[in-house]
């Protein structure tokens, strides 16, 4: 009721006819809802918070209206990977909240769960994070603004080979993204002439990493490629790496940038120094766009310390959704909305982005970064940039 009232008031304000029959005509002002499914509580609550804040920044910069339509984001909490719950929430958003767009999704299974729904309801789903390549193959209505493990790993492996590194051990957490990373690394690195001397898949619930460190030491590798989910496990792994003397022995530490994400760096402490990663976004990225983004974030929330890859995923995702709304004139047609953003290019805080028309995944610049101390604060300092990296994992199959 209040929603109708609000719509009616807005309509009067714009001097338009009353909008009781919302959606009857695209030109009429209406509220277009975007349902965001993400963890807002639980161990990954940080992710939901960064999504929400980034969207708020985007709306503060670009307003809450597109044309005559008001865009409203509706947030639903999904605290951990739970595809059945993800589907129930998406159902609720579509049926009850009547959202025209779905967005968010931190975990791959949660994103995959909504494929049949978005196809039946003809609604686009803009993925802010979930990074398994195969997702966008499962429905033509997925668009992704984050990255994939392949996208980050391929340039890293090539860079390592160019550095003259010959023997590498991969150490990844034993789950989908970890195995994606391992596969991508092995394929690329071996093609470039290097050899992977050992592939270690560590149980996801490992606490003690000392035994793996011994194995890495024994393998005689010059460097490791490591991927673990951000958070406590990465911390324990990086500490074990430093504490067990691998760092002192000169073994170099490489990996995708999730493992040194900005909010974790203070806790990682000096153990993180020297870790070399490739990633699509670093808080310290030097560009006017990024500075403006961080400044706005600081203005709204008092601090920009927690801005990280999930922030830009959501920020650019919001941009894609705004563009979809604009190009379809507010009409709810998922297939058309997705078509409208295929091939679209824009400048984001992380650099130039293009939505690849085939994979519906962002083609972007991947940066090589090293963790360094700048003015007493640990940062991912960009050392090189690899432009126009697509999702190398699209349709690779498993």
């Amino acid at each position: 009721m209040t929603k109708h009232l609000r719509t009616a008031l807005l309509c009067t304000a714009f001097g338009l006819a009353s909008g009781w029959g919302a959606g009857a005509g695209g030109a009429q002002a209406a509220t277009i809802k975007v349902g965001v499914i993400a963890p807002f509580s639980g161990p990954f609550a940080m992710v939901g918070k960064t999504f929400k804040e980034a969207i708020a920044v985007y709306q503060a910069e670009h307003g809450t209206t597109v044309g005559a339509d008001t865009v409203e984001f509706v947030f639903k909490d999904l605290d951990q990977a739970n595809p059945a719950q993800s589907k129930a929430l998406a159902q609720e958003l579509i049926v009850k909240e009547k959202v025209g767009y779905l967005a968010g999704f931190f975990f791959t299974p949660d994103a995959l769960a909504v494929a049949p729904l978005i196809d039946e309801a003809n609604i686009p789903a803009v993925i802010f994070n979930a990074a398994t390549s195969a997702i966008t193959e499962k429905s033509p209505r997925y668009v992704r603004t984050s990255f994939t493990l392949w996208q980050n790993t391929v340039p890293l492996a090539e860079h390592m080979a160019k550095q003259g590194i010959k023997k590498v051990v991969t150490a990844v957490s034993d789950y989908g993204p970890g195995i994606d990373g391992e596969t991508a690394f092995k394929a690329t690195f071996e093609k470039a002439g290097g050899s992977v001397v050992d592939t270690i898949r560590m149980p996801l619930k490992s606490n003690d990493f000392a035994p793996f460190m011994q194995r890495i030491k024994d393998s005689g590798a010059e460097a490791i490629y490591a991927f673990l989910p951000a958070g406590p496990t990465t911390l324990a792994f990086a500490k074990a790496f430093a504490d067990n003397g691998l760092k002192d022995k000169g073994i170099r530490f490489f990996g995708p940038g999730d493992i040194t994400q900005e909010p974790d760096l203070p806790a990682l402490g000096d153990a993180a120094l020297g870790i070399t990663t490739t990633f699509n976004y670093s808080q310290s990225h030097d560009s006017a766009k990024n500075k403006a983004f961080l400044a706005k974030h600081k203005e709204l929330f008092g601090s920009s310390d927690t801005v990280t890859f999930t922030s830009v995923g959501a920020y650019d995702g919001a941009h894609v959704i705004y563009t979809m709304i604009q190009k379809t004139g507010g009409k709810s047609d998922g297939a058309k909305a997705v078509d409208a953003v295929k091939g679209m290019s824009w400048e984001s805080p992380r650099g130039p982005l293009t939505i690849n028309p085939d994979s519906r995944h962002v083609t972007q610049t991947i940066y090589l970064r090293v963790v360094e101390k700048v003015d007493g604060k640990l940062q991912n300092v960009e050392k090189a940039a690899f432009a126009d990296q697509p999702d190398y994992g699209y349709k690779v199959g498993k």
């Binding site: 609550a45 793996f212 067990n244």
Partner: protein, 289 residues
């Protein structure tokens, strides 16, 4: 041979950390018959206090450790009076589980609110950084320190429970509360002291183990299975049992990771099942220490 040595050293080091984190639970569960699932939450509170004391107040590591243990005990004692006292006794295990899970949720939410969801650390003094070498193998100095602390805790608890008046009274009260009360033992105070001992040990473990189990609000829930495994294998209430169990599990886990890292998880739980098969009541059932 070198592998065996490596497994032994890393396994014992990990096992000692497991011991120091879990022994508090063994005390509350074995001596007070409370399935205290909030044990992890108490350990986490200890860790956070130490982190705050060291980072924001600039206290040195030993002082932060003492403050953490003391404050955690002080903060949780009212809980004993308000909550735990209502759920003592064997008949009410499910109530204990539910109440302590509820309490854990409340603590997790509070810590999340006060300190935020990001990881926290307890900076180590320079003395504990670096590695010490044991023959062909090097282990982090901090771990060597924890092993030492574990041994001290083990002996201290043994002395407390076996050789002091407190221990004798406590064991009497556990075996037969009614008789103990009739003999003039003030069970209420005794239980309070034991509870304090349990939470103090939890806090100690939370601080010392923070290098291995990093502090974040979900610490309280994430590691509870691990703590319960140690206590189940050791036999609730048995201090030496807990130590033996922690070492056995530590070595098992380490061996699995050394030998078949890709199936480490299977190895650990399969071993756990086998151990509980052979010793269904834990290594040291029925003995206090």
């Amino acid at each position: 041979m070198e592998t065996l040595f490596g497994i032994a050293v890393d396994g014992v080091a990990y096992g000692m950390i497991l011991f120091i984190i879990s022994v508090g639970l063994s005390v509350t569960l074995g001596l007070m018959r409370v399935v205290n699932l909030a044990h992890g939450a108490f350990a986490m509170v200890g860790g956070y206090v130490a982190s705050y004391a060291a980072q924001s107040l600039g206290l040195p590591y030993p002082a932060a450790l003492v403050v953490a243990v003391a404050l955690t005990v002080l903060a949780t004692l009212p809980l004993e009076k308000l909550l735990y006292r209502r759920i003592y006794g064997h008949a009410n295990e499910l109530g204990q589980v539910l109440l302590t899970i509820g309490l854990t949720f409340v603590i997790v939410a509070t810590v999340n609110y006060l300190f935020g969801p990001t990881l926290k650390r307890i900076p180590l003094p320079d003395l504990l950084l670096g590695t010490v070498s044991l023959g062909p193998k090097a282990i982090p100095t901090h771990r060597a320190f924890v092993i030492g602390m574990g041994a001290v805790t083990l002996l201290g608890l043994w002395w407390l429970l076996e050789r002091t008046d407190f221990g004798i009274r406590l064991r009497a009260a556990v075996d037969d509360p009614a008789m103990a009360a009739a003999l003039g033992i003030r069970t209420e105070r005794l239980y309070m002291a034991t509870f304090a001992l349990g939470t103090g040990l939890a806090a100690l473990g939370g601080v010392l183990g923070a290098e291995l189990l990093p502090l974040e609000p979900y610490y309280a829930i994430r590691y509870i299975v691990l703590f319960l495994a140690v206590v189940a294998v050791g036999g609730a209430g048995s201090i030496f049992g807990s130590a033996a169990a922690a070492l056995a599990l530590g070595i098992t886990d380490t061996a699995g990771k050394y030998l078949i890292p890709n199936f480490g998880e299977f190895f650990f739980y399969a071993a756990l099942i086998l151990i509980l098969f052979r010793w269904p009541h834990g290594f040291f059932k029925g003995r206090t220490a």
